[in-house]
Amino acid sequence: MSSQSPIWALISTFGLMSLFAVGGAAAAVPEMHRIAVEVHRWMTDKQFADAYAIAQLSPGPNVLIVTLIGYAVAGIPGALAATLAMCLPTALLAYYVSRLLSRPGQSRWPGLIQAALVPLSIGLMAASALILARSTDRNIAALLLTATVAVIASVSRANPLWLLLAGGLLGFAGIV
């Protein structure tokens, strides 16, 4: 496969990114945005925000925003390539590490490393929020909607799906 092929670009980009995506999919969003919008110009800022919204609104792991990016770059093969590249390498890594750690005498390091990674994960997710908010909160009403959802979701156990649908309804009504 030529190194110029868009499929190969997707595989190498997301394969590498997944190995650095500590803290899960939400932590990887800034890097996805940087690569897809700024470096490769695969999609616009608005398309990226839409892709994030669609991924949140759909069933399945939220990491599947990469399926949408992959499709935008190279159609159905791109969608499948991006998904596998993002998910398979780290799943295999997890498989080998879990076998390694199931041996006795290895119990100290996982806890320590996990504790060390927690603040970094939160920082990454906060960065995701900032980057996405920049492209979605273009007016006062949009900003208010974001803030209201943030408060409701922080203080209650409301099902996230209802909040997303409420946002969609407000958009449909032309309020946001």
Partner: protein, 205 residues
């Protein structure tokens, strides 16, 4: 652990466990279907549904085993729930079980996302869809902020200055300065692990 070995759960359990907590390990098809079902139920994140199915419904793992498995998958890179499917499936049925759970978790929603991508490519410019998606986007960002807030709360309560500084540093580097993730993590991870190690030694001493 070979794919055809005896139920792996017993081998991995070092501590005595309530035998009632484990039903007999599921077959590959059952694993695929169970993960497909939790994945399709999982709007806004699959974890809650995975925990319910694995611990409460099928009793394939105890609550503690599930937390340990999840903690491992959270500290490793990549999508946590995807890692969990592979680790969990392979504990019950070897690598074939891991692949079955992994495929079950990803195949159905990936097909759905591909269909949505096709629809978006064709109708994404239609005004009504643009407006709806704009509203959903705002709400989605709000949800993300709420998750960040919930995760920050313990650090704030403990007044964990070191952790808060690390958090703000990563936020600024990635969110404000837009530096590449690799470069930031190559510095931040060793620093954070080192500081955490030193602080724990000081506490222990």
């Amino acid at each position: 652990m070979s794919p055809d070995s005896a139920p792996a759960v017993q081998e991995l359990d070092q501590e005595p466990d309530l035998p009632a907590a484990h039903a007999s390990p599921p077959g590959l098809v059952a694993l695929f279907l169970a993960f497909a079902r939790m994945s399709l139920a999982g709007f806004g994140g699959v974890l809650v549904f995975a925990r319910h199915a694995i611990v409460d419904q099928h009793r394939w793992m105890t609550a503690d085993e599930f937390n340990e498995t999840f903690a491992l998958c959270h500290f490793l890179p990549g999508p946590n729930i995807v890692n969990l499917s592979m680790v969990f499936g392979s504990r019950l049925r070897g690598i074939a079980g891991g692949v079955a759970a992994f495929a079950g978790l990803l195949l159905p929603p990936t097909l759905i996302m591909t269909v949505l991508a096709i629809i978006y490519a064709r109708f994404g410019d239609v005004d009504v869809l643009r407006r709806v998606l704009a509203g959903v986007s705002c709400a989605a960002v709000g949800l993300l902020i709420a998750v960040v807030f919930r995760m920050m709360t313990p650090l704030l309560k403990r007044m964990d200055a070191v952790a808060l500084i690390l958090m703000l540093g990563v936020f600024a580097a990635i969110g404000v300065f837009r530096w590449p993730l690799q470069a930031v993590l190559l510095v931040a991870v060793p620093v954070s692990v080192g500081v955490t190690y030193l602080l724990r030694r000081k506490v222990a001493a």
